[in-house]
Amino acid sequence: MRNAIDVKGCFLLFLFACLCLTPCFAAGASPEFIPVGAVVPLTGRMAAGGKDVKAGYELAVHHINADGGIFVKELNKKLPLKLIILDDESDPVKTASRLEKLYSVDKVLVYLGGFSSELNVAGMSIAEKNKTPWLGVTIAVESALKRGFKYIFIPFGMSGAQTKAFFDLLDSIPKEQRPKKIANFELQADWGLECGEHVAKMAKERGYELMVEKYAAGTKDFSSMILAAKAAQAEALFSVPTPPQSIGLIKQMKELDYAPKVTLFVRGADFWTYWQALGADANYVMSDGNWDEKMPYPGNERLVKDYLAKFPEVKSIGMPVGPSYASVQILAKAIEKAGSLDREKIRNALVTTDMVTVKGPVKFRQDGPAEVIFGLRQWQNGKQQIVWPPDIATSKVLLAPPWSKR
């Protein structure tokens, strides 16, 4: 008897769920705004990056709306963007569920991406399923673009662009000083492995010797890898460590007296916290230059000025702010070009994107990553200087001396 009541109670709860979830909203009439949605990690382990992404989106939407909105030819009027941002708590399950809310309840026309490959991969598949254009940054794994997805647009330098910039910079160093041997500390995750393939291919093509040391995602002790690179006299180091790993790497490299002339830690050395943790030991380390405050492209000065006015306590603007801002610029241009609020037409307009954003020129290709500028930045006395490409460089690349001479 008790069992029957218990089971009945369970069924009643299901009914309660059904009733709770019954929607009660009416369809809108003539559009007064253009709904755009993003699910971004604002809490949890990826919140720091998510907040930068959110700030970039909000500032771009603020600027576009302040300038009068986007002209939609079909309606013969300008409409403001309405940005709806939901938090996924750094959980890909919630990313998917909340993107469904944005699509089916808030009726967004376009999705903007979240932060990190892990969350963006969950998001982009929902966008593809819902046939809704998705514009996202802070994802560097190109494999996502090899799936024939039609609605995914990533105006961001990915693994191929990252490794190419590294080799281009090495090639630009005078021959007598140029490193001959490269060490790749290869992260055993999709991004690290993908970079590893590019590094191996380019090293062979450009005549560099290569040694590869592999490490797992949670590794904290890199001493054996460092000693192997030191013994092999590798003068350049490439890796994509997480921020705590990149801090640990430099500390251990100093202890073991290994100082390659060129070190690139994509992701690991991007943020101001890196300098805070290491101080002068962070000098000479290069980081991701998808965007920088000092980039000379139109609109970047306004972005930096208004960002710093809003967050005066910030010492260095997070890299994701610029690419996120650029995503909204690209979207606005595509809507204007489409002249319509139809998802398919916006998607078709996005495909033909060829414009200059705050992070430089962006052009999408049908069969792979977008054509974008991937800069490299280097920590030089507490500031990140753009050292690549040469036409926007704010400083020359400095080759690291041995630890004993710093």
């Binding site: 008790r2 069992n3 218990d6 009945k8 009643l12 709860l13 059904c18 999709d190």
Partner: protein, 307 residues
């Protein structure tokens, strides 16, 4: 009377997608069902048999990958789902049975270690994303997944209800109450622990399978994340450990409250939900089902009072 209400509610769930077109709401019921099945899985092992497992992420993950690969290889959805359950039982029994030699906190630590080893192994050996092939993507339908998940959820309720009052269920409860006393009256402790683990793994594998057929693409380590160990534990304690009602009530509370808080309170929601959880544990140590049971039946003969 009970059968009438049950039929009515089943009918309501069957008709729900016909009236509610927004996939978001179907998605929420899907998640309630998924967490309910996973929590039932934890409840069989932890709530009925008294084995506090922190290894459910491994059960869930193995089920998810087994089902995903079977589905991509061409198995129909129900068969792939079953493969998820069976795959989880096989791997879990192989790796998990040695942990049954441990008792109490040591067992919890042992199973947590098992889950962490599984996570690290998958992170390193199976890096990358599992994307759905375009041909499967083209035929993807949320409604069919909704029906499968709700169907499995209802079946899990009936199964755990029957199990609890069966001879096996009573043996499990006696192990939970006092292992030595249970052994003294002739219950084969190890055998029943293995049975509980296998049932638990099967249910967790089914839940993992549902995850695998629902999400279009995911990093292979995601279903092995430790949150899949902690969430069912949390849900079962919110709802009421050792009861049939508890996991369902806990899942409803977990999914709907968290979603409502997250959408209405933004970043504050995490603190609010944490506070709600602490209040539930403080004031309703037998979970929400204990509270409902008291209110509904009253007196000391209610179900949770008997636990």
């Amino acid at each position: 009377m009970g059968i009438g209400i049950s039929c009515l509610i089943t009918l309501a769930l069957l008709l729900f997608p016909l009236f509610v077109k927004e996939e978001y709401y179907l998605n929420l019921i899907f998640l309630v069902s998924l967490y309910s099945i996973l929590s039932h899985s934890w409840n069989v092992f932890g709530g009925l048999c008294g084995q506090i497992s922190l290894g459910h992420a491994a059960f869930f993950g193995v089920g998810a990958l087994s089902c995903r690969y079977a589905w991509i290889a061409g198995a129909p959805l129900p068969a792939a789902l079953l493969m998820g359950g069976i795959g989880s039982v096989l791997v879990t029994c192989l790796v998990g049975i040695p942990t049954l030699k441990l008792r109490s906190h040591y067992f919890a630590i042992g199973t947590l270690a098992m889950a962490m080893i599984a996570l690290i192994t998958v992170q390193n050996q199976l890096p990358g994303v599992n994307f759905l092939p375009p041909e499967l993507m083209a035929g993807y339908s949320v409604i069919s997944r909704y029906y499968i998940c709700v169907g499995v959820g209802l079946a899990a309720i009936l199964f755990v209800g029957a199990l609890k009052h069966s001879k096996i269920g009573l043996a499990m409860i006696s192990i939970r109450e006092d292992e030595d006393a249970a052994e003294a009256i002739g219950i084969n402790i190890f055998r029943y622990k293995v049975v509980a683990m296998a049932i638990s793994a099967f249910l967790a594998g089914l839940a993992g399978g549902l995850f695998a057929i629902y999400y279009v693409s995911f990093y292979r380590y995601i279903p092995f994340e430790l949150t899949w160990s902690f969430d069912p534990l949390l849900i079962t304690f919110i709802g009421g450990s050792g009861t049939v009602l508890g996991p369902v009530l806990g899942s409803l509370c977990y999914v709907i409250l968290r979603e409502t808080f997250a959408l209405s309170m933004g970043q504050l929601s995490v603190i609010i939900f944490g506070a709600v959880f602490i209040l539930i544990v403080l004031f309703f140590p037998k979970g929400l089902s204990g509270l409902i049971d008291k209110l509904h039946a009253g007196g000391p003969d209610s179900e949770t009072e008997k636990q």
